[in-house]
């Protein structure tokens, strides 16, 4: 859920573009981390571990822990917490180490 109004901060901008999560359109603000757009849309599971297929989501938010990696426009292992969203991006849940796909 987004926080457009805040007791201390200025009103926030509205989402201005669309990205696709596993094929489903979700609104995003250009330049915000992909992870922020996903959380705003209620998406919390970003990938599944290689061995036991356990779900993982955002943890550190600063690009260090790599728990939030996903397949972005066909490229696996993209850190969604530090990668800016752009109109039309295709974001997919990463299974294990992920696979390269045609962009």
């Amino acid at each position: 859920m987004r926080v457009p109004f805040h007791p201390i901060l200025d009103d926030d901008e509205e989402p201005d573009c669309t990205i696709y999560h596993n094929g489903e359109a979700i609104p995003a603000k250009t330049g915000e981390p992909i992870a922020a757009a996903l959380l705003a849309a209620g998406v919390k599971v970003f990938r599944e571990t290689a061995k036991r297929r356990r779900p993982r989501g955002i943890y550190c938010g600063i690009g260090r822990c790599t728990d939030c990696v996903m397949v972005v426009d066909g490229e696996p292992n993209v850190r969604t917490c530090v990668t800016p969203a752009r109109a039309g991006m295709r974001i997919e849940t990463q299974k294990g180490l992920g696979e390269w796909k045609a962009p």
Binding site: R2, V3, E32, A35, G57, I58, Y59, C60, G61, P84
Partner: protein, 371 residues
């Protein structure tokens, strides 16, 4: 390589409060400076700090973190400090003319040769292991703070905060301000870790802070659904029969920070181990210079503290590095450094500063011992 390599008198790694402050002092002295940062935006963690800072007027008390961040950025710009973003540093190579700092930019390897190097790399949040601790919805408190205050997205509807230091207290309050309910704050120690003023605000808002308690498990199929806590005995073991379960979709972990010291290790700095500063920290003297000549460290890399002390340490390193290049004369530099030290010592007073004062004295002491 020499042909394409950038040159600067002072190279700074990290564009947070320490690195920016170092750049400002060095540039004021007339040094050419390059600041490198792996992030897309400068300011480090200042822009998520929407609370007012403590200290006195000189310490920017009463000013919110993001305002301080904007001021630092404006000053570096006005002084012509070059700041390279999206530029993670991956290698340091000693050279007869200084030190070559290698970094990535737009997927390419680049390098800058600096006569002096200041490491202001900051720190990272500690993790905590408990059953269910890998479920989506469990995250660092700093991560939740970034999402709420910078990106304006709630991490969830109802959270449990683990840890009652200033990070735990402030983030819990800021989650409530933005609309996430905080069910409870648990603290393993017998006392609240952070400032009383923050703890009181939280209690007034109706959220209990349970000291002598810890998180024992998180339940949920694919994301956090419920959180169990328990009282701890004198040996910090959960006491049987005291377990309570809260419905929650988010767990924020605020159990301290560890200095990001990789580059200092790589450069061959000598280290010392001081638990209250977050573990291994590079040894430095009163000039913030490490045991590697010409290499300075400032901010959380020398022990996790607060942005206010990080700025002072950055200023010290910037002044000392400029002095070593002959850009500030010795007497003038001494006056400036004495003033910064006085300001920094004032920040480290009181019951909360005492421990840090002692730890920092220990760190400086280790610089005096022969290695």
């Amino acid at each position: 390589m020499e042909g394409s390599m950038k040159h600067a008198q002072i190279v700074i790694v990290g564009a947070g409060p320490a690195g920016l402050s170092a750049g400002i002092e060095a540039a004021k002295a007339g040094a050419s400076c390059v600041i490198l940062d792996e992030n897309a935006k400068p300011g480090g963690q200042l822009f998520k700090q929407i609370h007012k800072f403590f200290g006195s007027w000189e310490h920017k008390a009463g000013v919110r973190g993001y305002t301080i961040g904007s001021r630092l950025l404006r000053e570096t710009e006005e002084l012509g400090v070059e700041t390279l973003l999206d530029a993670p540093v991956y290698g340091l190579f000693p050279d007869e003319k200084g030190i070559i700092v290698s970094y990535m930019k737009n997927g390419r390897e680049e390098a800058v040769l600096g006569k002096k190097l200041i490491l202001a790399t900051g720190s990272t949040e500690n993790a905590l292991a408990f059953p269910g601790g890998t479920l989506p919805g469990v995250m660092g408190a700093g991560c939740a703070q970034t999402m709420v205050n910078v990106h304006r997205v709630l991490p969830g509807k109802r959270a449990v905060m683990v840890g009652s230091g200033n990070v735990g207290l402030i983030v819990a309050y800021q989650l409530m301000q933005a609309g996430t309910d905080v069910a409870v704050i648990v603290e393993a120690a017998p006392l609240v870790g952070g400032y009383g003023v923050h703890a009181s605000k939280i209690r007034r808002a109706g959220t209990p802070i349970l000291v002598g308690h810890t998180i024992t498990a998180v339940q949920g199929k694919t994301t956090v659904e419920a959180v169990s806590i328990a009282e701890l005995d004198a040996d910090f073991q959960p006491r049987a029969g005291t377990e309570k379960t809260f419905e929650a979709d988010t767990v924020c972990v605020a159990v301290g920070l560890s200095p990001l010291t990789e580059l200092a290790w790589m450069a061959g700095c000598d280290f010392t181990y001081i638990p209250s500063l977050g573990g291994h920290v590079p040894i430095h003297n009163e000039n913030m210079e490490t045991t590697v000549a010409g290499l300075y460290a400032a901010g959380d890399i020398t022990g996790s503290e607060e942005a206010s002390t990080a700025m002072e340490e950055g200023r010290l390193a910037g002044i000392a590095a400029a002095e070593s290049l002959g850009l500030i004369n010795k007497d003038e530099a001494k006056k400036m450094k004495v003033a910064v030290w006085a300001s920094m010592n004032a920040l480290r007073t009181g019951p909360f500063g005492q421990k840090r004062t002692e730890a920092k004295a220990q760190l400086l002491e280790s610089a005096r011992r022969p290695q």
